[in-house]
Structures are given as C-alpha cells and as structure tokens.
C-alpha cells in the first residue's frame, strides 16, 4: 500500500531537482496540483510522472512593488501534458511576458526553497 501524500511528496521530489506531476492510470489524464484522487472520477490510482516542463503562457500579470523592491511576474502556464499551474516566467522583463509564449520549466532556489519557474523560449514562426 503506497498512499500518496501529495504536497509532501511533491516537495521531496522538488528537493531532488525533479518536477513531478500525477497521472491517473485508468484514464491516462494528467493531474496538477497533486492530490489523493483524480477529479470527477475519484479514482485513487494516481502515479507520479516526470513533467516534460514544456508549457505555454495562458495568462500573465506583473505584481508591482514599491521601488527598490523589484516588480515580478506571475503567470498561468498550460503544461504540455494538459494541466495548468501558476508560476513565474523569469529571464526577461516581467512585463515582456506574453500570452501564448512557449516556456520551459526549471527548478530554482527561492529563498532556500526549490521552486518551479519557467524560461521563455524563442517563439516559433
């Protein structure tokens, strides 16, 4: 019996530099955020799988801070596997992030905690 403990196990994987999401064995559907059962079916046959890390920006905002505090990006990313997650697009100006932009996940150290962020990829023509 291997009970899934979603948040704890996600964070343990992340600490090992692995970005893991879940897949329901019977339906094949991917699930994020991690949970103990698949939405709607209630099936508990979820397994951890490595995310491809490929995604597309679905929505974006810039959280404005009073200088000298830097403003930062908050975006919703549609993962190639289907689920959507909140994240941050890094490496470009926060207000240069565009909806539809292809992005790739990377795990960074965020104040001592591992965090999944996304780099903008060159736009396909």
């Amino acid at each position: 019996m291997h009970d899934i403990q979603p948040e704890r196990q996600y964070r343990e994987f992340l600490a090992q530099n692995r970005f893991m999401i879940q897949r329901a064995r019977s339906s094949g559907r991917y699930v994020f955020y991690p949970r103990v059962a698949e939405p709607l079916s209630g099936d508990t046959d979820l397994e951890w799988v490595e995310a491809s890390g490929r995604g597309t920006v679905y929505a974006t905002t810039v959280v404005r801070r009073k200088p000298p505090e830097p403003s930062y990006n908050v975006a919703l990313i549609d993962l190639a596997e289907g689920p959507r997650m909140m994240s941050r697009v890094v490496g470009i100006d926060a207000d240069a992030v565009r909806i539809g932009m292809p992005v790739q996940a990377r795990i960074v150290d965020d104040g001592g905690m591992p965090l999944v962020v996304f780099d903008a990829l060159p736009e396909p023509n």
Binding site: V62, L76, R84, M86, S87, D110
Partner: protein, 382 residues
C-alpha cells in the same frame, strides 16, 4: 412544487449602516445597527427573528456571535463562508427554509470595520500552497490574470475597463451615501498607478467600513409589513474553482450557469431586467458578469460599456449605488447589491432612481471568481 419557491418569499426590510468610515465601532456593532434598521424598515420586532444568516470576514462563527449579542435563540444560524457571494446563497437558503416552514423571519446581515481597524481588505482566506509560492497579491492578481486573458482573447482595452470605474463613480455622485463622489475621468483611471497589470488602483474596489442587512419572510406575512414586499423570484449559484490556477476558462465565470438557472426560475431573460447590480471588486468583473449574465455576447463586454452605456442615462443601469468601486467595499460586497436592488424596486433612490424599475438582478462573486450567485428580485410576485 419543486425548485426555488419563486415569489413565495420576499424581502421586507433593508438597511445599511456606517458606510465609509466608522471609527470606534467593532464589526458586530455595525452589523447589529444595520439589522435593527432593517427590522424597523420591515416593522418586525427583533424577537420575531428565528433564522440568522450572518457572514463576517473576521468572525468565522458570526451567526453565533450575532445571536449572543442580541440574546436570540434562532432555529437556524448560518455562517456561510463562500466569500462575497455568501449573502446570495443565504437568501437562497433562507427562501427555501421559509417556504418549508422551518422558520418565519430570516435576517441576513453583514458588517466590517476593516478600513478603520486595519486600513486594508481583511481576508479570511488564502491561496493554497501551489499558487501561494508565486506570491500573487490576493485577490487582485487573480482578477488581473483574468483581465489579461480577456484582453488577449477579445481585444478588451484598459480604457474599456476604465469605463466601468467611471460609470460607477457617476452613479456614486448621485448617491449621498457613497464614499467616493469626486469626479473621475477615463484618463485618470487608465494612468493610475499599476498594482497588478493590467489593473491599476482605480480598477480596484474601495476599502471602507460598513454594514448591511435584509429581512425576509413568506409572501403572506410580507403583505402586512410596513413597505411593499420585494419578492425573491430566483436564486442560483455555482462554484467553478478555488484558486485562479484552477479556473477552467478565465474569460467565462460561473455566472453563465448561475444566471441561466436564475432566469429559468424566474421565467425571465436578461432583456426583461430593469436594473443590474454586480459585485464589482475589480473593473474586469463587471465586464465578465455582463457577458455571462447575457446582457451582451461573450467578448463584447468591453465595447458594451463604452460611451457611458452603464452610467446614469446609459442604455443599462448597472451598479446604481456606485458599486464596490465607488459606493463602499467593506470586504464582502454582495449584501449591498441586494439592498440597492430593494431600494430601486421600492423607488427609494432619489436622484439615481431608475424610473419604473420592477425587475432587478443582483449578482455576487466569491473568492477569486470562484463562487458565483445570481438573485432576481421583483416588485410583483410573478
């Protein structure tokens, strides 16, 4: 008859208290004052209240606290926590309970002293770990993400968002109770300091104190009250997600579903509604809800609100109190949309009165576009 008891219960009392700044009062003091005013408005004695529906940001057991404060022994005490839409759900549940004879007089009440107590929006909820890691400003960033998507998909502009804020201000200028009544221009809204792009400070609701209350009873008893009853014709709600990352489509809210069910209950459509109140926590809300409630097609909300179309003298009167953007916003605005609907249907709105208003729609929003609840009220039972 199955389903919502359309026209079989009514709002017979409605009041607000302490809108704006109310230093020296605790939240429950304000709630009680509004409640007593609503009961006086109805001509119903406090001791006759046997069902309490109270939701307050700082007090998760507000229904119990209210009973304690006034020495009541209610048969029903409900402390709904679905956010700013809580009061629409409470009206729905009160109507069902009244119609079933579980209770005879229901009081729905709310109050907050957030402006004088903390100067900021008091929230009792927070993002789950998954979204919280990325430090969105709750709740603004969630609405900003929805606005970004609407702008991308439909070409909605910041100037169209600003139309919503300016319309709200123009209504507020006709409402002596409104907190913000200074003139406001489109340019001022568009160029206001950004908080979470594309939303600036004038796209955001106010932070004020204030309390509101309504009293409901069955239609037969309602006819003996002080003022003409305002009948509950429909109430419907749904939940589509909790945090914004789980919202299925950021351009379509659950109002599409709650609205459709409410129209079916009341046997009316959007074209029949005389006056509209929607929970305008942010300017994008009004555009989303007008679309989802069928006042215009999906994606056309930006164009729909242009040229003062929802302002005084426009084609559709929306948020005639001035809304959360300019009237008041003590944290959970839903109940104020019901009070304003009652006042419009009774013809009590003075300069901002919508002539001949007989059918009103009030729409509440809770969480991060998460809970949507629509109420239709009418000056006739059917």
């Amino acid at each position: 008859m199955l389903g919502f008891p359309s026209g079989r219960t009514a709002i017979v009392g409605a009041a607000t208290f302490g809108v704006g700044k109310s230093p020296g009062f605790e939240a429950m003091d304000l709630t009680v004052r509004a409640s007593l005013l609503a009961l006086a408005d109805a001509g119903i004695a406090l001791r006759d209240v046997d069902a309490l529906f109270v939701a307050q940001p700082q007090d998760t057991l507000a229904g119990l606290s209210f009973a304690d404060y006034l020495g009541l022994r209610p048969k029903i005490s409900d402390c709904n926590r679905s956010g700013g839409s809580a009061f629409m759900l409470q009206l729905e549940h009160a109507a069902l309970a009244l119609d079933a004879g579980y209770c005879d007089v229901a009081l729905i009440a709310y109050g907050s002293n957030q402006a004088t107590a903390s100067g900021a929006l008091v929230q009792s909820s927070k993002n789950a770990f998954w979204d919280a890691q990325y430090k969105p400003i709750r709740p603004i960033s969630a609405y900003a993400l929805a606005a970004s998507r609407h702008m991308h998909q439909y070409g909605t502009t910041k100037r169209q968002l600003a139309e919503v804020a300016v319309a709200a201000r123009r209504w507020a200028q006709l409402n002596p109770e409104a907190h913000m009544r200074d003139p406001l221009t489109l340019d001022e809204v568009v160029s206001a300091r950004l908080i979470s792009d594309p939303l600036g400070v004038r796209d955001c609701c106010l932070v004020t104190d204030g309390a509101a209350a309504i009293v409901m009873t069955r239609a037969d008893r309602a006819r003996d009250c002080r003022k003409a009853p305002v009948y509950a014709l429909a109430a419907a709600s749904t939940v589509t997600h909790a945090d914004i990352s789980a919202m299925p489509d950021l351009t379509v809210t659950g109002a599409a579903e709650s609205g459709a069910r409410a129209y079916a209950q009341a046997g009316v459509g959007a074209a029949d509604i005389d006056v509209v109140q929607v929970y305008d926590a942010f300017t994008i809300n009004t555009i989303l809800f007008l679309e989802d409630l069928g006042f215009c097609a999906k994606g056309e909300g930006g164009a729909f609100v242009e040229n003062g179309a929802i302002a005084p003298g426009g084609q559709l009167p929306v948020n005639t109190s001035g809304g959360g953007l300019s009237y008041c916003h003590p944290g959970m605005f839903g109940l104020f949309t019901l009070v304003e609907s009652v006042r419009q249907l009774r013809g009590e709105c003075g300069e901002r009165q919508v002539a001949g208003a007989e059918l009103a729609l009030a729409h509440g929003n809770g969480g991060l576009l998460s809970s949507q609840a629509t109420v239709i009220l009418g000056s006739h039972a059917s």
